[in-house]
Amino acid sequence: MLPPGFETIEKYVGYWDVPTTSERWERRAAASMDEIRAFYDDMLAHADQALDVIALHDINAMPDDVATLARLMLALMSAAVAIEVVGAPRDPYSPYPHSVRVLRGPSPWG
């Protein structure tokens, strides 16, 4: 569940809210460009509002609904690299599935 005011992006929680940086990369790599684009557009439309709500809370002590919103914003970063840099869900010249393990991501939700 997301905080009030974010009902229109609630539908993305099921797929895009995953615990770690590595899984956020994997979710994006496994999605279609249309799915990534839809998520990206909707999230950007709510980004300022979301960052305002998130900023009201300590990063290490967020209520569950705000933490879910925060992880969706992190997933937006993964989508943004696909849309703005790679131009595809994943680089067609890089190995996939690949053997790089993210042993530890940034903290929290890494």
């Binding site: 937006l76 840099v85 890494g110």
Partner: protein
Amino acid sequence: MNIETKSPVPGFDDSYTLALGLDTGPLSTDPYISPAHYELERERVFGRAWLAMGREEQVPESGSYIVRELEVCNASVLIVRQKSGGIQAFHNVCSHRQNLIMNSSEGRAPRFTCRYHSWTFGTDGALLSVPDERRFFDFDKKKCGLTPIATEVWQGWIFINMQSEPEVSLAEFLGDFGKFYTGVPFPGSGHSLKFEANLDANWKVISDAFAESYHVPSIHNKTLRPAFSNASNPFARPIRASAWGPHSAYSAFANLEYAPPENALGERLAYRNMGANNIISPSGANEIDKLLGHPSINPNNSAEWCSDANVIFPNFHLDVSFGGFFIHHFWPTSHRSTRWVAEYFMEPAADFQTRLQQEYYAIRNIEVLLEDIGNTERVQKGMETRAKRNIYLQDGEVIIRNLLHHIDRWIKADSAREALDL
């Protein structure tokens, strides 16, 4: 050294390779594909050089330990913070029937107990207790402690040496590079973004992928080229190269005009509190000002500077960029396989905007690293076809040449002291 080349062919006025006194010819692929060469590296390079293992912050308190597998030396290494405050490495091998003692890669323990028969050792390696001890014959517990491995710490970095009595000290081994980098602070060294992969390629193929910027406009066409090359430096030539015996460094070029494109709204969101130069920065600028202000970082004070890559012989890269510092370890597991570990050090985010920026950095970095290491197994296969027996290195690939030159030196030298010219 100026990157403006006056003639199409590098000469003494503008060649890093010539300035460092290195040859300029093609180089044999033998060091990358020959099992016999690998055996020589094991004995004469990895068996004699000081090897960087980690940061002292990884063993913060008495009894804190890390375990590292060192396949290239047939060793399992247990590194322990001592009660005295020092750090000591041991073979992670029980004195009884030689079982490997500790299973987890890190932790804290007041003593180390082998699970096989519960022989128990102190953090200083002494054998403390043996169940049913009196049924052993002529038994002297004092002779049955853990086998120590020579350990020294330089600037917070833990090094070990597999020689039972190292010929050279760590200070002698690091030589003028060690002096040059003394006093460099390492902010955020308690936490890292950490990657690991097992790759079917010789360890030097992986190391080489991070030892030059010639590849940046090509293989990193989308991810890095816009920020790290421009019309004045389209081939991302290095803006400096140095060598201190086997250790070496180069500085990479930054395109000062780079800013996230107008329509890169996600990237702009990530970096909205930052200047344009921080495209690959994981953290805010304040805590790294001291690092970047050290005279040995960007030593030529080039305006168009993005990073220094320091190659510490044989298999450790210690790199600094606007965002802080990061490292690569290239651990050989056979002549054609490598465990690669990369760590990007950063403080845990104190606020969500910083965390968002770190996420963008981490994700973009995964793309870059996949481009770098995704290619290495293809390089190995190409070399193993033996269709060609030489590689060609241009001036900007001088750091690779320095490494190959010194590996050859260490293999031919009768002692580490001779290899280092001491």
